[in-house]
């Protein structure tokens, strides 16, 4: 039997608070299943499991905070006898029943984060209550141990005169509405960015390189490819830039990995973190897994799915924990160039500015050409400028044969 532990979602994470279990005791799970939602400094993150088995005892209650590495649940491997006799598979409650504790009516006792007068409530409920001006202390919680959950806040808010449309759900509705349960906490995210970037600038000896890439061929190829495609199947230049970057990172492993405890460790696969700006501020760079081996179409689909989920505040644990380098692309509404700050413990950031038509010299004459500026911010502890130049040149070369990407 194994233990499912609180994952580390970045070097800056110390602990996480359970928002919701998405599995029940006795339920079968497979690799990649999302089993819980945990509130971290980066917001509410969907936590995946990376082994198959059956969920044993759930060791963490909704609202409880646990440090990275703490056991969250028991996982019974295939073929093992379940250790939890009281959890037959057929009986699958949506969440753990309230503990028949000695003082079920006095809420704060079982919550480590509680400090005396603090009301027992899930983080999502707290945020929702703050947004809507609902006093948590005035509510009767229906969650585990009497915790106030989102549904309680929604139902209380419905009773008030100026209830917005979103609060028309029945009080017993499961608190699964993306806008309430999930979401990235902006204030906390700003702090997390500040901590990571300050550490980066303090510890990482950055060096920078810059190169101009002609995109005439890639632009023409993209237009021809998209002309035959319905809108849902169309490609964006961002997908080509990402694929070329991923292939180049694969070829030059000194930029694809992590610098940990005084030592550079190249990664085995290429999982570029793709910087996505969130509306209203904030930035997140989830990993696109195995980008070097994905087709451009698959990469485009992954980009699309990832951007939509990030903006809906639905982030998966693996996306935050394992990017091997960062690719940041400003897109058509950006500016010409960007100079990245490496996200530790990564060692490189590839930055694309906005593609635009500029005068260029071709065969002795000045002609308008579509170009993009690409930059590399790299960690001098792991590589040198010569290798960095090879990396950027490789990206350039790859983009000259877009059909081969």
């Amino acid at each position: 039997m194994g233990l499912f532990k609180m994952p580390s979602l970045g070097s800056d994470m110390e602990d996480g608070t359970l928002v919701e279990w998405l599995v029940a005791e006795g339920q079968a799970v497979k690799r990649g299943d999302i089993i819980a939602v945990v509130e971290t400094q980066k917001g509410a993150i969907e936590i995946e499991i990376f082994e198959a088995g059956t969920v044993g005892k759930l060791l963490l209650d909704v609202g409880e905070t646990a440090p990275v590495g703490a056991a969250m649940a028991e996982i019974v491997g295939a073929g093992e006898a379940p250790a939890v006799a009281s959890a037959p598979a057929a009986q699958a409650p949506a969440r753990r029943a309230p503990e028949p504790g000695p003082v079920a009516a006095s809420p704060p006792s079982q919550v480590p984060i509680a400090s005396g007068e603090r009301v027992l409530a899930s983080p999502a409920a707290r945020r929702l209550a703050a947004e809507r001006g609902v006093d948590l202390a005035s509510l009767t919680g229906t969650g585990p141990g009497g915790a106030v959950i989102s549904a309680d806040v929604l139902s209380a808010d419905t009773l008030s005169a100026d209830a917005p449309a979103a609060s028309t759900q029945a009080p017993e509705a499961k608190p699964r509405e993306p806008a309430t349960r999930r979401g990235l906490a902006m204030g906390e995210m700003r702090k997390a960015i500040a901590a990571a970037m300050a550490r980066s600038k303090r510890e990482i000896p950055h060096y920078y390189l810059q190169h101009t890439i002609d995109l005439e061929t890639a632009t023409a190829w993209l237009a021809a490819a998209n002309a035959e495609r319905a809108p849902p199947d169309r490609l964006l230049m961002a997908a080509l830039l990402l694929k070329a970057s991923a292939l180049a990172l694969q070829r030059y492993p000194d930029f694809n990995g992590h610098y940990i405890e005084g030592e550079y460790r190249p990664a085995e696969a290429v999982h570029p973190g793709v910087a996505i700006a969130l509306r209203g501020g904030g930035l997140i760079a989830p990993a696109i897994h195995d980008a070097a081996t994905l087709s451009v179409d698959a990469l485009m689909a992954a980009l699309r799915d990832t951007a939509q989920r990030m903006r809906a505040g639905r982030v998966r644990s693996s996306e935050l924990s394992d990017p091997t380098a960062t690719v940041s692309s400003l897109g058509e509404r950006g500016v010409e160039g960007l100079w990245g700050v490496i996200y530790p413990p990564q060692v490189a950031l590839i930055g694309f500015g906005k593609a635009l038509v500029r005068p260029a010299v071709v065969d002795g004459g000045v002609v308008p050409r579509m170009q993009v500026q690409v930059s590399l911010a790299a960690d001098h502890r792991a590589s040198d400028g010569h290798r960095g130049a090879l990396l950027l040149n490789a990206i350039d070369k790859l983009l000259q044969t877009p059909e081969a990407l």
């Binding site: 806008a179 809108p231 951007a307 058509e332 509404r333």
Partner: protein
């Protein structure tokens, strides 16, 4: 479909892509990309949604028509009419 109905459909699809955006608050000839902070992925998603919902072809070359509310509504009316 009247222009008012098309506008409502357009606003709905923009709201799906950018829930906090308020397309009703911008001028008809304003660039929605700047006014509502929509990037190329967002615009592609809006066009894809309109393509599926209204059952019309929207060639990539026509995408610039969707940069303003007025342009998009006129374009959709013409394609549907």
């Amino acid at each position: 479909m009247t222009e008012a109905e098309l506008k409502a459909v357009l606003f709905e699809e923009i709201a799906t892509v950018a829930p906090e955006a308020d397309p009703g608050a911008i001028a008809p000839d304003e660039d929605v990309r700047d006014a509502l902070d929509l990037d190329s992925m967002d615009m592609l998603n809006v066009i894809a949604a309109l393509h599926e919902r209204l059952g019309i072809e929207i060639p990539e070359a026509d995408a610039p028509q969707f940069f303003t509310v007025a342009g998009a509504v006129t374009y959709l009316a013409k394609r549907l009419g």
